[in-house]
Every structure is written in structure tokens, then in C-alpha cells.
Symmetry: C2
Subunit: 233 residues, 2 copies
């Protein structure tokens, strides 16, 4: 349920405004906490099945010794993704939103609780894998330094135009599964073009989490962004 505004009446609008104001305030605190420890935080969003966890696996492998990472893993239910990532030896905190009524997105207060379990002093990068959803996660600041979207090239070229807010609030787009692009009716050029119509400054990276193609370019962007983030502090 999108909280921005509803037509039902004033009471609902006041409630929604209160929820969003509380979230903004908590997000600001999270960002200050992360920055004070020199941690650059990425909010990874995208459709269910686009390959967010596979991208994280590929990213952690390619990153190697260039950055110490931790992961906050968001799912409605199950700990499958955490179990996959745990094999890579990074600290992981799982958030299951079925504890919060099955929320379709993460909120800043969930991240606050998770951060208490993250070893902030011994990491450089925090990846937050949001709930698979192209709509509501875009509306809730978590305290991240960058929003990154994962799209599946097989899912068609029109997503940036059909879900404009998510593209508007993000800094980078990973167009995943390019290893099967020959079989898809979609093409990377048109996805990129539509993404730039939604947000001209979006950095776009065609990648394959499966083969590793394109992952180094995204990791370089990430390290550069994290570096300039650190420089700004």
C-alpha cells in the first residue's frame, strides 16, 4: 500500500504523514551512524527474481580485498538468501517482514535494529537487500548512501517508464542476466535509454551475475562512490 496519499480521508493522510516523517527522521540517524563509522551503505532494490542475491554474491567475490562488507538481508519470509550469502563469509543480519505484518518494503526502524548487530567498526560497505518490489521500497529512505536497482533483461524494456519513482530516486541500475539476452525480446540499449528518460544521471551497468560479465565495472563505480562519500565526510 503506497502511503503517499490516499483519498479515503484526512485521518488516513495524517497517519501516512506521521509514518513517513518518523521514517525520515530514523533514516537520518541511521545515515549519521553509518557515516561516523566510515561505512558506505547501498540499498539494493528490484523485482523478485531479478537476481539481487546473485548480484550480491558476484559483487562480494569480485570486490575481494578492496572493501570489507556486511549484508542486511530483507525478505517477507524465509532465510534462503542469507544462507546463500553466509557461504561467502560476510557478516549477515536477516530481517523478515512477516514479523512486521508482511511489509512489502524495508523501513528505517528495521535497519536501526539490524545495525545494532552489524560490526560497523570493521566494515567499509554495507549492502541492504530490500524486499523484491519495484514500487514501495523507493518511498522509504533507510539511511543508505546510494540506491541501486537490479532489473532482469528478460523482463522487458518498459520498467523504467512503468515504475518511474524507483528510477528517479536511484543512482545506479544493474541490468542483469545479459548472458541470456539473445533469447529475450528485450535489449540492453532500450532499457538504458528508458532508464535515462526516467533519470538522466543514472549509471547503467549491463551485467551477468552468472558469468561475472560486467561486474567489475559496477564494483569500480561502487568503490569510487564509496570513496567520494568518505571524502565528503
Amino acid at each position: 500500500m503506497n502511503p503517499w496519499k490516499r483519498s479515503e480521508g484526512d485521518m488516513e493522510i495524517r497517519v501516512v504523514e506521521r509514518i513517513l516523517a518518523a521514517n525520515e527522521s530514523q533514516a537520518k540517524e541511521n545515515r549519521e551512524l553509518l557515516s561516523s563509522h566510515g561505512v558506505f551503505a547501498v540499498n539494493l532494490m528490484g523485482t523478485p527474481g531479478a537476481g539481487k542475491t546473485a548480484i550480491l554474491e558476484a559483487t562480494l567475490k569480485v570486490l575481494g580485498g578492496r572493501g570489507r562488507a556486511a549484508v542486511v538481508e530483507g525478505d517477507v519470509a524465509t532465510t534462503f538468501d542469507s544462507e546463500r550469502l553466509a557461504r561467502l563469509g560476510v557478516p549477515i543480519v536477516q530481517i523478515n517482514t512477516d514479523r512486521f505484518g508482511g511489509e512489502c518494503h524495508l523501513e528505517a526502524n528495521m535497519i536501526e535494529s539490524a545495525l545494532a548487530e552489524v560490526p560497523l567498526s570493521s566494515i567499509d560497505l554495507l549492502f541492504v537487500e530490500n524486499i523484491g518490489n519495484l514500487i514501495c521500497p523507493a518511498e522509504f529512505d533507510l539511511g543508505q548512501h546510494a540506491n541501486v536497482i537490479v532489473l532482469d533483461i528478460m523482463g522487458g524494456t518498459d520498467k523504467p517508464l512503468k515504475y518511474p519513482l524507483m528510477f528517479h530516486v536511484s543512482q545506479a541500475l544493474l541490468i542483469n542476466k545479459i548472458d541470456v539476452a539473445d533469447n529475450a525480446s528485450a535489449d540492453v540499449g532500450t532499457v538504458t535509454e528508458n532508464a535515462h528518460r526516467a533519470n538522466p544521471s543514472l549509471a547503467c551497468f549491463p551485467v551477468s551475475a552468472k558469468t561475472g560479465e560486467g561486474v567489475e565495472a559496477w564494483v569500480e563505480w561502487l568503490l569510487q562512490s564509496a570513496g567520494s562519500g568518505v571524502a565528503r565526510r
Copy 2:
């Protein structure tokens, strides 16, 4: 934002209860209106890019003269999908939820408005294409007679376990893009098995909207369901 319950306080819970109660009541009215015209309504849900619109195109082609159909097309923004379906000569009503604050799901009151523009007396089947989202659409009854999910075989096998509510409230699952299944790490058998763990009575159909494979089996299920629905009235 999932409306079932939130931890913020009593006022939010009351608001959410009021929204859901109003939705249930409107959905009941919609279902009665549809049934009184002998129309069987399908609420088509699934991830963005799973191929909901392509499934509708393939379904309408295979259906032929066996049922007169109309479509209510839901999107946050754009009319791309309506334009695609209009080529097939069926009545179409577009709902853009950016009019409703960018809602991540359809609600019964949106369907009520759309039904005023649908020629109910001259159709047998109404397809409602919901917003691409595996979470919130499952929580809002629209007045449909059947909930149908579209999944992309490329999206992995774990979706029924990670998004259990949608599978719990649905009657059929279309596992799409089986034409590229050889390239995927996913397999139809495991998706079906996990879907049946979430809902043992779910009818599962592996299909390819692109090649047409499997579409006839789904259409037969649909016509049989519509027939028994009519018989129950």
C-alpha cells in the same frame, strides 16, 4: 505498505482496518455485479516482467470464440499494456494508480469505477491485470472469481516460499517463459513443488506466452472454472 497490521499504534491499526473493511464490502458488490451479468472475473497477478500482458495476449488468441472477454489493465503509470492488448480487439479499461498516489496494487473501488465502462452484458470473461507486485495485491479482494499468478521460470524456484500469501490466496499458477528454461537455473518441477507447499490445491501450468506452449491447458482450466462458476449462481 502492507496494511494488515503495523506496530506504530492504535490509530494506524484502526485506519488500516477501516480501509480493508471498506475494500471487502466494495469487492462483494463488484462480485455480485459481475455474477449477475454471468461474467467470470480473473485477477491476474505477478512480478513486473513475468509476462502478464504477454499471457493475456496468448490467452485471448487461444480462447478464440469460446468466450467473449474484456480487460481491466492496472499500471502505476503508462498505457503501454492497454495499447498492446487493444490490437486484439477486446474492450479495455486502463487504471493508472498514479492517480491514486501511485498505489502498488489495485483496490475494489478502482475496479468499481472501471466496471462502469466495461460492456458487462456482452462479455463472459473479465481479466484484471493487477500491478506487478508479489505482495500487496494478494491482500485486496477486487471482486474476482479466481486469483491467478504469473511467475517467470527464470526468476528462481523459491518465490512461493518467499511470498507465501499470494500463493495461499490463488487458484492457479502460470509458470511462464518455459521456452528459455534450458538457460535457467530454475526448473519447473521445483517451482511446482514449492507452490504446492504454499497451497496444495493450486493448479500449476508451465506455459510459454511466446511460443504458445501450454496455453491451451490453462485456457481449458479457465473455461471449466468459469463454467462451474456460472453453474453455482
